[in-house]
């Protein structure tokens, strides 16, 4: 789906219905299977496995303490799959376009720029993580919980330093608030069909609730 407006809209709708109920999660999952390059997306995204582990951990705790862990796990997994699909097709500047289209050149520009920066940082964090782990291996640090702490420290420090640098750079360049952006959107044949079925999935989910 090329149009970021349709992609974000469909993703938001499907995530909501998936999170709210099991029928919603089933409907969203079927939609994900039919309208996305599903397995290819999972293989390409390195954040899927850590997310599964994290959600699995909390689901087990939930199941032990009060029940509902299995349902939570399934619903959250579908939300993650939808999120992976949303980000997999992301191109530079898309969220800035979306922000300006939704909320104009002042607030929309700010929100769009924040989203762009966050995504850029996500890619940098993945690279940083690889380098830090490689450095640890070469240093002879064994993998384990104790080796994760320095990784986290350096990642957080690096992120804060980059945020500070970016803020200073924006201030130096005279950035105060908002900007000018003329949003441009590309649409592919079949985008509207996928959105139509996303709405259908949501309606069916609501009816079965």
């Amino acid at each position: 789906m090329h149009d970021i407006r349709l992609r974000t809209g469909a993703a938001t709708l499907l995530s909501l219905v998936a999170f709210l109920s099991i029928p919603g999660a089933i409907a969203a999952f079927i939609w994900w299977l039919l309208f996305t390059p599903n397995l290819h997306l999972i293989r390409k995204n390195r954040l899927v496995l850590p997310s599964v582990i994290l959600i699995g951990f909390f689901s087990v705790i939930l199941e032990i303490t009060g029940g509902g862990g299995v349902s939570y796990f399934f619903r959250m997994m579908v939300v993650i799959l939808i999120g992976v699909w949303l980000l997999a097709g992301q191109k530079r500047g898309e969220f800035l376009n979306l922000g300006c289209w939704l909320f104009g050149n002042r607030t929309g520009f700010e929100l769009g720029m924040l989203a762009e920066m966050a995504l850029q940082n996500l890619n940098t964090l993945t690279t940083d993580f690889d380098r830090i782990r490689a450095a640890e291996r070469m240093k002879g640090v064994r993998s384990g919980v104790r080796s994760i702490i320095p990784v986290g420290r350096v990642l957080v420090h690096g992120t804060l330093m980059r945020a500070e640098d970016t803020a200073e750079l924006l201030a130096i360049r005279g950035y105060v608030h908002g900007g000018t952006c003329i949003p441009v959107f590309a649409r592919k044949k079949g985008d509207l069909v996928a959105v139509f079925f996303a709405i259908c999935a949501a309606v069916i989910a609501v009816l079965f609730c």
Binding site: A134, A135, M138, K139, R153, V154
Partner: protein, 235 residues
Amino acid sequence: MEVQGMKLVLDDVKATLGTWSFSAQGIFDEGLHLVCGDVGSGKSTLALMMAGLLPAASGSVTRDQVSSLMVSFQFPEYHITGTTVHDECKSWGLDPETILSSISLGEKRDRDPLRLSRGELKRLHLACVLANPYDLLILDEPFSSLDVNEKQRICNTLSSRSKGITVLFTHEQAIFPRVAHIWEIREGRLWYCGSPPDGLWNWHHAPPLIRTLIAAGKTPKNISPEDLMEAACMT
């Protein structure tokens, strides 16, 4: 180039990133190898491929008889595992007092390494890396964030490394250690210039001072500041 013993072999290695591509072929034996190239030419990519941290799009990288490897990344923060400067030295298996006194950071032994200035952190990191005898040591831009005196000190240490393969990636144009081989990245390829002094003639992006000396018929024996000074004083 037929090489016996410890060596790093790049066999028609290729890397691609969108429309950008890079290829390398060559054998790196024991000694200090200087690899130069402009910013963005592919130095860091090659360093990572040499260390096996980045898979090549095609070709192969072979490390013969190399039992210990270290890559000094451009950003020293990646290597930090200690919560104090003292602990950081210990994490490298070194005596903190010896290391810290050699780089004048003794007073900051209890400080968090992440709170050091970039220059201080680079000094600490390089002191720890160079104190260990790695078979293959890859240094990616070790001179960045260092002042002239520190660069000179690092060069002296590098010049005195007698064992192992040391590959120095830099776009430095002023201060170099005494090197055994010069390589150059240009036009998307790694070129072997040769060993100094003959290799200096093939070095396309040689620093202006070296080019001036060669043009004046005063080819230096090597590229360390002492060698350049000696060549400049030739009559």
